[in-house]
């Protein structure tokens, strides 16, 4: 899956959060995030509608010996 995080998006979203970043930062961040989000996208897309973050601790307790 192709995911493109543009440098413009990175610059805007960091500016919204008040972070003054180095000039080269948006390029590096957009490349890293594009690759990461593409790698995780199929797994995230396969999540059932009802999947909740809180189930992790329940599974952790359930899977103990």
């Amino acid at each position: 899956m192709t995911v493109k995080v543009s440098e413009a998006y990175v610059s805007e979203v960091l500016a919204i959060q008040g972070a003054a970043v180095a000039p080269e930062a948006p390029k590096a961040i957009s490349a890293a995030l594009s690759a990461q989000l593409a790698a995780a996208a199929p797994a995230y897309a396969a999540l059932p509608f009802e999947a909740e973050p809180g189930t992790f601790l329940a599974v952790l307790a359930k899977e103990q010996p």
Binding site: Q17, A40, A43, P53, G54, L60, P65
Partner: protein
């Protein structure tokens, strides 16, 4: 005499104090002398509190003379990663952002070590805000590997790994959010325990990623990890994520047989990018486990291991960026460029993807357990697939392959954090270069007793963990 003392394991030195073979003061003298001797070469300490420690050791000896034994660590001097807060004392967390103001509370982990009788004699080097896998620190200088000072220690618990391996401490607290206990343990040739998520209270420990952070010991043996875990583990009103599961007698359970234990070897993911010399050491370790009566079972991991790794990255990035948001806005110049860049990446991650990473976690653990722990008791895996890189190779501008090297250092670590599983890292061989190779034994949730038992049995049959670097 001093070398005889510093060469002891934690279990041994605690026993010798209890049997009056040595006093706490004598032990402290030996440890301080060793720390002062190796620190100029390794840069493993951030501070040594000699005067306070000497007073505490005297008090411990006086208590003992009156017949009062505080606990299993009575009078044992320890130093810890500088991110465990003690009320009234500043903690720098390896940064220039923190470290001026005294902390208000004492970490539960320190309180439990105090109650067990341990004496804190200093604080140890760490990666800035525990956000780096190598041991580089541009504020405090880089920590150095006692086996070869040109090489990294692994991080972020760099000083814990370096000092314990160099016999300048019997054990140390580290923290493991994406490998920060296991990496320095494996790379420095010692034994480190990454606990199940919630097994040890995080209260009073610097947060990096609250969903992934774990507190764990670095020692010179699985037995020492068992001793410390028994002191540290358990529920804590100050940390709502601390697990309420009962704490077994980890030391007593070391004695149970490992014959018949099923040890899984992964058929994918953990086999990627394997250097033949590292692979050979891991293969030898399997033979040793087989000779102990373990059954070696190939296991097929879930296909989504790479996505699991990335999801772990998303959780850490988003949570770390949130913790550091205010300082990133107001004091960006106080961060090193590398750590600042890592933190800023999290600011750009969409919130929905962070939530997705959390939503995936329970499902991923269930799938991993079905694929692995339905077939085996423990998963045997490498810590890092390559020989330990040098400090220069992993420094900014040091090598065109720096990013890839750093990615390979964390690839086999982070999924274990994301899945919340316990893992014991321990030495399983040495390369021709003289650098150690580490393996990890990954267990079911809260099955620290099982991986410690297997690690202990392995260390009874091998002597890799007894090798000492010449510093």
């Amino acid at each position: 005499m001093a070398a005889d003392i510093t060469g002891l394991t934690l279990t041994e030195v605690a026993a010798r104090i209890r049997t009056r073979e040595v006093s706490s003061t004598e032990v402290l003298d030996a440890v301080l002398a060793r720390a002062k001797a190796v620190h100029p070469k390794l840069n493993c300490f951030l501070r040594i509190d000699e005067e306070l420690a000497r007073a505490a050791a005297k008090l411990a000896d006086a208590d003992f003379a009156r017949g009062h034994l505080r606990g299993p660590l009575h009078g044992v001097p320890l130093a810890h990663k500088d991110m465990y807060y003690r009320a009234g004392v500043p903690s720098s967390c390896g940064s220039r952002v923190k470290g001026k103001e005294p902390e208000k509370n004492t970490a539960t982990a320190l309180k439990r070590l105090d109650a067990a009788g341990a004496i804190q004699f200093g604080v140890l080097h760490m990666a800035e805000f525990a956000y780096g896998p190598t041991g580089h620190n541009y504020h405090d200088g880089h920590c150095r590997n006692p086996w070869n000072t040109a090489h990294v220690t692994g991080g972020s618990s760099s000083g814990s790994g370096s000092s314990v391996a160099a016999r300048a401490g019997f054990a140390a607290l580290g923290s493991d959010t994406g490998g920060s206990v296991r990496l320095p343990a494996a790379i420095c040739g010692i034994t480190g325990l990454k606990v199940s998520y919630g097994r040890v209270s995080r209260a009073g420990a610097m947060p990096l990623s609250h969903s992934m952070d774990t507190v764990g010991p670095l020692t010179r043996s699985a037995q020492d990890c068992a001793l410390l875990l028994g002191v540290l583990a358990g529920a804590d009103p100050a940390d709502p994520t601390a697990a309420i599961e009962p704490v077994p007698d980890y030391l007593a359970r070391l004695a149970a047989p490992v014959k018949g234990m099923r040890v899984g070897i992964p058929m994918s993911y953990f086999t990627d990018d394997m250097d033949p010399s590292v692979g050979a050491a891991l293969t030898e370790s399997l033979k040793a486990l087989e000779s102990l009566g373990c059954e070696i079972v190939p296991v097929t991991l879930p296909a989504e291991m790479a996505a699991i790794d990335v999801a772990g990255t998303h959780v850490i990035a988003a949570e770390a960026a949130a913790y550091h948001g205010n300082w990133l806005r107001t004091r960006p110049q106080d961060y090193s460029p590398q750590v600042r860049a890592r933190l800023e990446r999290g600011l750009a991650l969409p919130a929905t993807r962070y939530i997705d990473a959390l939503r995936l976690r329970g499902h991923a653990l269930a799938e991993f357990s079905k694929a692995v722990f339905a077939k085996v008791d423990v998963l045997h895996a490498p810590c890092i697939p390559i020989p330990t890189p040098t400090i220069a190779e992993t420094d900014v501008g040091g090598s065109p392959s720096m990013d890839r090297t750093l990615a390979l250092m964390t690839k086999f670590m982070r999924p274990v954090n994301y899945l919340g599983l316990p893992s014991l890292a321990l030495p399983c061989g040495f390369l021709a270069s003289g650098l150690p190779v580490g393996m990890q034994l990954v267990g079911r949730p809260y099955a620290e007793d099982v991986i410690l038992r297997l690690g202990h049995a392995f260390q009874q049959a091998t002597d890799w963990h007894k090798r000492e670097p010449k510093v």
